[in-house]
Amino acid sequence: MMDVTLTSLQQLQNHATNHIMRKKVGTFAVLTVILAYFTYIFFAFDIIGLYQKSSSENAMTLIRDSYSYKVHVTRDNRSGEIDIKIEGENKGAYPSGTAPEWVNLAPKKTVVNLGSNHTITLGDKDVVYDVPGYGQIWAEPSNGGVNARFPDGELPDFISVSKNRLMILTDQGRLTVTRNRTEIFRYFLGWELFFFTLDSPYYGLSVGEIVSLAMNGEASEILSDFWNNRMWLHKDVAWAIFETILMAFIGTFGAALVALPLAFLAASNFAPSQSVRFAMRRIFDFIRGVDALIFTIMLSRAFGPGPMTGALAILITDTGSFGKMFSETLENIDQKQVEGIQSTGAKPIQRYRFGVLPQVTPVLMSLVLYFFESNTRSATIIGAITGGGIGLLLTQAMYTQKDWEEVSYYITLIILMVIAMDWFSGKLRSALVKGSGNDTV
């Protein structure tokens, strides 16, 4: 008796040790495989080359532009004309002869105050930048390029100079002098002209003044100036957001409407025959396999760019997913309710309407709502491909590579839109679960 227990104990111990050993080895094997895979990816994706390729200057521009804006003060060195433009765009140009208060326009002696005692004086031909703690930098464009004089000593890092170009980059702003033009950038926090452009009478007024003007019957003018803002295009952006949500809405709910009857054909307990069921399943699999990308390309050839194309692409793709999921849901229903309805002599349609649909509606609706939320995200991407909605605006702003404040504005809007849809669909889904609890139980 004693003997047996001892050996079996030993056996058990051995068994346990081996088991743990095997698991340990297994864990390490998995870790090794993951590590090996990442090493492979490291070389396959050429991470080292990427490090050299990536441009930190681009990253800096992007980050700086997202929270600040710059005003360009440009002098044409031939004519001596000075213009002042927000973000260098014609839409943001100050009318000639006017200037913000930090620029003192005077013939042949315009003084640009960059703040913190940095001043730039645009003389007849020359330009003088007074950098506190360093000294005066003098430059003059000439036929051969740019002549420049610096204070004694070694050139600091913030100055880069060549025969044709002088650039001074300080914390306060940037001065570039070339043969043709002298350009000064001054940076400010925020998004300028977000509410009103310079040509609007409401530009520069405080919130209180705007409100009191709105009270005095100018509300519609104020709104229209804001809505038609040429710099930020609020009207187009609002339409784009609406288009994106519309694509997701039509796509998701349209797909649900198409998929519901088809799902009955693909569910084992409703299919008229096994071959129909098999065929339906393969069709769903095929649609899911073809994928949104290919449908998007195919449909944009037929319908051209726009939100309807995107909506139809989502509709077709999701019909496959919904068909599969709906038929699985239908296969899992409780047959008793259907039999109960049948026992009263109901026809098939009535059986589906009163025996099946009440059971599956909450489940299907919550699936559909979940997809609706995730399709708002897909609609952004599909919009970028078909050319509709906020995705298009985002890619356009990206490709021009200058309006980064608009890019960050769109990104913020997209994230807010998705979060709002997430919240909305979550609310509806929890309401459905609660509602169905009262209904069926």
Binding site: I47, S55, V290, D291, F303, G304, I381, A384, G387
Partner: protein
Amino acid sequence: MTSNGVRYSTPFFYGYNMRNDRTPATVEKIQDSYVAMMLRKRSYGAILLLIFVSMMISGFKVAQDRNAGSFWDGIHRIFDFPAGVISEAFEKASELPAHTATYFPALLETINIAAASTLIGAISGMIMSMLATRGLAKWPALIPVFRRLLDLMRAVPEIVIALVLIFVMGGGPVPAMIAIAFHTTGALGKMFSEVNENASLKPVEGLASVGANWTQRMLLAVVPQVAPNYISYALMRFEINIRASAILGFVGAGGIGYELKNAMSWGQGRYDQAAAIFLMLFAAIVLFDQISSKYRSRLTHGRQSSEVIA
């Protein structure tokens, strides 16, 4: 057999009770109010349905108005493009194997983007989900912070990050990988934290009592419990990510999507290359869908062998 008894006794009892406390008038009242309720419910349903249908129709009209081509103009052209591609593919069927070989590296890149981003997303999602689950979190006070962070990561569409990173890093697979991994972290983190909530805390407490630190407790007490569910969710995400990485390629992030865009831009006469890419993409998606759903059903419906748990 008992149903017989019930059938006989029920009317008797009910009838007896009703006759005593409830007059036929009340029965009628109940019936009336029931019918009224049903009618109300039906009319609500009908109104909702009407609103929904009119929203669908007017929404579709708006979408059509803002579209370049209208629905009825385009519907008969819908198969022109696939037909053109297919006929060209048949004409030049002999060249398809060569195209497949040419574009295989691009397909591999797309799959690699999906796999690497799923792995990275699963690992970071695992860590974040543990930090966001009550009972497991290292810093319980920060649970809401990590939850919101996961929500935010989930909300950012991949294309946003991919486009920004393409600008900073230049084109190629890495921007897509980072973008998808970011979104995957949020999506998997949320699912993982739901799984974590069902994990038993006893092994965690046991390990804590012998002085294990947080990492050890998580790796040795929680992960073995939740690994099958984690892997199942991660596989599902992998399927989604293959599609996402193909689509991101189309906006410039490398892989088969990028090649597809190029092949398409050459236009008619060279659709055989596009056909090869379509076929490869379709095959890859179906293949990985099949593998993943096989493996997932094995993970969730028993046959949970020890070799699976990693």
